[in-house]
Amino acid sequence: MNHYRQCYFNRTAVIKYVPPENKKLKDYLSQIGFNKFFHLNGTDIHKDTSVELMQLTALNPLYIENLIILIDSKMRLSQGVKDSLKMSLQEILTNVFDHSKSENGCFVCAQYYPSRMTIRLCITDFGVGILSNLKKKYGISTDIAAIKLSVKEGVTSRPQSAGFGLSIIRSFLKMNEGTLSIISGKGKINFYSNKVESYNMTKGFEGTAANLKINANKESYYSLTEEEYIF
């Protein structure tokens, strides 16, 4: 039987979760500052290769710059990877603040593995989810369909045309042989460079989480277009 534990933020209960039994997973949550952030009187042991959990209530370019400087100081990233990292973070955060209607903003954490030259980024909000934003405009009814649609070029909940960010991140990660995982409501999709895996989860997640795995040793500059430049 699952034993739920309540998570608090600013002393208000925000989500319930099942604490992991796996020790590695427990330790990992501790490393990224999960207990300190979400448990009353919780404490953590921060590890050098993780970027502590941070709540953002607005787009904060300075935080993004500093996060990249921090990871760069440990891994010596190429300019292309730094730019791609910045683009991915900025674009997902823009989506959160434009569409999620999350009362608590969002939570960002990162992990880097210098020996494997891999970076993992996670951005989570407790907002309305992707389906809620797209179902009316596009006539869809499942979380999986909404997530799939959200990474297509030109898809947006706005009345005006927009919606290139996630499709560009998806394309970049395809070239980079990285992974984009999105969880929203009861849907979870892993977009790998050569395949897509979809899961219908029995327990829904009230909000959206994006998880990016970037290969920092791939010189995959952002250059989607092979056509001649116009400008």
């Binding site: 787009l59 370019p61 300075l62 300019q79 292309g80 730019d83 791609s84 910045k86 683009m87 900025q90 674009e91 955060l93 823009t94 603040f97 434009d98 070029e153 030109g154 045309s161 927009a162 290139f164 960010g165 560009i168 500059y221 952002y222 250059s223 989607l224 277009t225 056509e227 430049y229 116009i230 400008f231």
Partner: protein, 122 residues
């Protein structure tokens, strides 16, 4: 911004926007300014000195969306993008092509042509 002569204009994005080069809202402010300049100037230099943008939302809203309102030739003739990072230039060109594709699709239907006409008259 430095006025070179009556028909030329220099827009320094860093001086104009500071760190506000991330969101669509930030991009919209720049586009509105460029649209005013396009009416009166023959040549507008957009300078990205000391700036790395890396934001598809900003670049799309500020520059690529001009493709829905103005002919490509006019924008190409009048706008000069200088001192862009390689990454930002790739992003700009990719988004411009996406907007040109969108315009081509809109031009195929009466509803689309109507939407484009509204944009042009704004």
């Amino acid at each position: 911004m430095i006025v070179k002569d009556r028909k030329e204009f220099h827009v320094d994005i860093k001086k104009m926007a500071g760190t506000d080069t991330v969101s669509r809202e930030h991009g919209r402010k720049i586009r509105k300014h460029i649209e005013l300049l396009l009416k009166v100037k023959d040549s507008i230099t957009i300078d990205f000195s000391n700036l790395s943008i890396a934001s598809p939302s900003f670049i799309d809203e500020a520059f690529a969306k001009l493709m829905l309102k103005y002919p490509l030739d006019e924008v190409r003739t009048k706008l000069l993008f200088v001192n862009m990072t390689e990454f930002d230039r790739a992003l700009l060109n990719d988004l411009v092509r996406a907007r040109i594709r969108e315009r081509t699709l809109l031009e195929e239907t009466p509803k689309g042509r109507f939407q484009l006409a509204i944009k042009r008259n704004r």
